[in-house]
């Protein structure tokens, strides 16, 4: 597609419910990132995929957060047993290069519109 697509745009979950957020990156983009943006803050890194491999999950706040990208394209971020502090906008970004390339291969990331998750 023309851009990064995320669904749903809005999600309201009851505390304790599991949710799944979907990201369709730009076709052919190797790198995929998930970010969490709390109200009034900048996005914060959650996890990174290079094709289907999850190379960095250091930003995931707890083991309730799980992400996958099984075929190297669409990615799903799953949050189990949601809690109120999980309320945020979840952003997906893709980049045509992988991050283990050399410095001449610096390219920009393109962001989706995000999924606004509200846990009540």
């Amino acid at each position: 597609g023309a851009g990064v697509s995320q669904s749903p745009r809005y999600k309201v979950a009851k505390r304790g419910q599991d949710v799944a957020l979907r990201c369709d990156p730009i076709s052919g983009h190797v790198s995929l990132f998930w970010y969490q943006q709390a109200l009034g803050q900048g996005p914060e890194f959650l996890t990174y995929f290079q094709n289907e491999a999850q190379l960095d999950k250091s930003g995931l706040p707890s083991d309730r957060f799980f992400a996958e990208r099984p075929e190297g394209s669409v990615s799903t971020l799953k949050i189990q047993r949601t809690q109120q502090e999980d309320s945020a906008v979840y952003l997906c970004a893709s980049n045509r290069m992988s991050w283990d390339r050399g410095p001449i291969m610096n390219t920009e990331a393109f962001f989706g519109q995000g999924t606004r998750l509200t846990v009540v």
């Binding site: 990064v4 990132f33 803050q41 900048g42 890194f45 990174y48 991050w99 410095p103 989706g112 519109q113």
Partner: protein
């Protein structure tokens, strides 16, 4: 670890006023620098980027930014703002090598009054 500071949280300007938004970063290695803009209800869009070369970079919509390595700064400027520039602006950095995830500042909300 990288960190980014944006000192202005909320800026209110009249149309035609000049704009400068501050951005400072801390990181021991070489970085790429970005400014992203988020218009109300829209996704983050790249305004401009600096990878190497001329430290004065020009972006879309008349924006420019200057990388001053000695000051670890990458301030965003526009000589004359328009009402349509009302948005949230985020400065971001990533490492030139290795981990490429962006580190963002907390953002500056710009409100331009007609």
């Amino acid at each position: 670890a990288q960190s980014v500071s944006q000192h202005n949280h909320h800026v209110i300007l009249s149309e035609a006023a000049s704009l400068e938004l501050g951005c400072n970063y801390s990181y021991g290695g070489t970085v790429n620098l970005f400014w992203y803009v988020q218009y109300p209800g829209q996704h983050l869009q790249l305004l401009l980027k600096y990878f190497s070369g001329d430290p004065l970079v020009k972006g879309i919509k008349g924006f420019e930014a200057e990388f001053i390595k000695s000051k670890f700064s990458f301030n965003l400027r526009k000589p004359s703002v328009q009402w349509s520039d009302t948005a949230e602006y985020f400065c971001a950095v990533n490492a030139r090598e290795g981990r490429r995830a962006l580190t963002f500042g907390s953002g500056t909300r710009l409100q331009v009054q007609p």
